[in-house]
């Protein structure tokens, strides 16, 4: 046995690692190869990548740009809901209603247990009313997305709150004469910035990948556009899927850096380091 006791033999470690890496690389390599195919020569070229910006084919790809624009609007509004509605409420619960912390956590993690496809059945009549009153614009859909990102955003922000002495900070600021808006914006926000940033990035990642709700409520976003365009020109959809994958990877590396990189997160250790990264529901859900 080696120093770490139960660690596998390096050969075993590498064998398993290589097999898993190869298995997961195959679809990604296939996507890359697929986008480079050139039907006219039978070989490989960048023709499908250039097609995306070809004015002659703009009509085919228009849904993608419309969808991307809609998805970006949704991402911005969803982040606004997280930062302006969820975060202040969590601070309020932490400071004034400690007894509500457990029920609040239960509610915040509940959407994990309710599949989007189930939620959409109940959302359909609600969005019918919204369509009549607020209009059929894309942005109200962000209200539904705020619920789907709730568990992830909650975890990221709560980890930052747990690592910060909010009460002490509030008392210090108040005794120096700061009003509550100043406490929230100039004292809490900077101290919770890692959690707020991680929550925002996760929300962006989830919103850009959302398909179920938009598709069944007949709204156009990036993912529904990929399906529509993919029926005529699968190459464009594969190219954009590949780009989205790369973008998501960069986002998550950034989230990982934020979580592990700041002095505060390093000092407080486990909770702060592991918590901002939960892109999926790891532990202790309802």
């Amino acid at each position: 046995m080696n120093a770490r006791g139960f660690a596998p033999h390096p050969a075993v470690r590498w064998a398993i690692g290589l097999v898993v890496i190869v298995l997961f690389a195959i679809p990604i390599v296939s996507m890359a190869e697929y986008t480079l195919r050139d039907a006219t020569t039978g070989g490989h070229s960048l023709v499908h990548w250039f097609d995306l910006f070809d004015p002659a084919k703009a009509g085919t790809y228009r849904p993608i740009w419309t969808g991307l624009g809609n998805s970006l609007v949704l991402a911005v509004v969803t982040v606004a809901i997280v930062l302006l509605l969820l975060a202040p409420t969590m601070v309020l619960v932490e400071l004034r209603f400690p007894k509500l912390k457990r029920p609040f956590e239960f509610l915040a993690l509940l959407p994990i247990s309710i599949p989007a496809i189930v939620l959409v059945v109940g959302l359909a009549p609600i969005y019918l009313v919204i369509g009549r009153t607020i209009g059929t614009g894309i942005w109200p859909l962000a209200f539904a997305y705020g619920v789907t990102v709730l568990p992830f955003a909650y975890r990221a922000i709560q980890a930052a709150i747990d690592a910060t002495e909010l009460r002490t900070l509030a008392e210090a600021a108040r005794s120096l004469g700061a009003g509550w808006p100043a406490v929230l914006l100039q004292v809490f926000a900077p101290n919770l910035r890692t959690g707020l940033l991680a929550a925002s990035l996760i929300s962006v990642a989830v919103v850009l990948g959302e398909f179920t709700i938009a598709s069944l409520l007949n709204r156009q976003n990036l993912q529904t556009a990929l399906v529509v365009v993919g029926k005529q020109d699968p190459y464009a959809s594969v190219i954009l899927s590949l780009l989205a994958l790369a973008f998501a990877f960069v986002l998550l590396v950034v989230i990982g850096r934020i979580g592990g990189g700041t002095p505060r997160a390093r000092r407080t250790g486990r909770t702060a380091r592991t918590a901002p990264a939960p892109t999926r529901p790891p532990k202790d859900q309802p």
Partner: protein, 308 residues
């Protein structure tokens, strides 16, 4: 003892949150409660109301009066088969994903959690676990689709026709590989912390007492990790069961699994001659999810014993 006594309350004050803080006022009491209203209203409209509407719509007919006919439709052989398909697909990919994921975690056992390998694997798992949906469907169309790289390579180089028995990629079996693609990373994310709770001291103790490496896994490792493994397995099952987008993008026709059946019920006016069947199907899904997640919470509590 007399020296220690005065120090004790100080420790308490630092260690618990229950003691009243010196100044706890955040505006007046009424204003603080008012501060909860916007978020409470938001959750009420966009979480509670849709859930209630979903459940209630399963019990309402086209004219809005109470009926049990929709729920009774859950016993229809077509619907039962759909639920069986969903359960079968979820169980299979959960088991496969859990085994492969646990092996990957085993391969990383003993590596420092802050090391480069672990960080890279964490980030990659995070992306791939999120990678469900439409984009995953396109990845597999490019891989094992009719014109996919693997399909063509097998056909041209080895003379193997993947689709000799029909285009199964667009049917139920075609979902297995794509689902594994997000199940394995989710397993790595959820199971790795449990693996990290194995202490090197236990292995040393085992060694000191004359145990072997196999003995360590048989008597210590596997019994300690079993509850976490089971919890992750349940989570993976729930994950696959509630997944919709990949299937929707791949299987454009037919409704082999429950989420696709809900799509059909929502988009076409009548299914099996009934209105509001979507509500009844959603109700069935909620029941399955509630049972799975309750079991998960139970097992997770047991598993948490070893992870401080």
């Amino acid at each position: 003892m007399t020296v220690a006594a005065p120090a004790a309350p100080l420790v308490d004050a630092a260690g618990t949150e229950e003691l009243p803080p010196p100044r706890r006022r955040v505006g007046s009491g009424a204003a603080a409660v008012l501060g909860l209203v916007p978020f409470a209203a938001y959750l009420l409209i966009f979480l509670a109301l849709p859930t209630i509407v979903t459940v209630a719509s399963g019990f309402v007919d086209a004219d809005g009066s109470f009926t049990l006919s929709n729920v009774a439709a859950l016993a229809d052989p077509v619907i039962v088969q759909t639920f069986a398909n969903s359960a079968w697909l979820s169980a299979l990919t959960a088991a496969g994903g859990a085994l492969i994921g646990a092996l990957a975690c085993y391969a990383m056992a003993g590596l420092p959690a802050t090391g480069r390998t672990r960080r890279l694997v964490d980030a990659a798992s995070g992306v791939l676990a999120q990678f469900g949906g439409v984009m995953l469907a396109f990845a597999f169309i490019a891989t094992i689709g009719l014109q996919g790289l693997v399909t063509l390579t097998l056909k041209d180089r080895f003379g193997i026709d993947l689709f000799a028995e029909g285009a199964w990629i667009y049917a139920l079996p075609g979902l297995i590989l794509p689902y594994l693609f997000f199940q394995v990373p989710l397993m790595v994310i959820t199971f790795m912390p449990a693996m990290g709770a194995l202490r090197p001291q236990w292995a040393e103790a085992n060694l000191t007492l004359g145990g072997t490496r196999t003995g360590f896994w048989r008597h210590i490792g596997i019994p300690v990790l079993a509850p976490s493994f089971l919890a992750s397995l349940l989570l993976l099952f729930a994950n696959a069961f509630s997944s919709y987008a990949t299937a929707a993008a791949l299987a454009s026709q037919g409704s082999q699994i429950v989420p696709l059946q809900i799509r059909t019920a929502l988009t076409s006016e009548t299914l099996l001659g009934r209105e509001n069947l979507a509500g009844a199907l959603a109700l069935g899904m909620i029941v399955v999810m509630a049972v799975t997640m309750s079991l998960y919470a139970l097992v997770q509590r047991r598993a948490a014993r070893w992870q401080r």
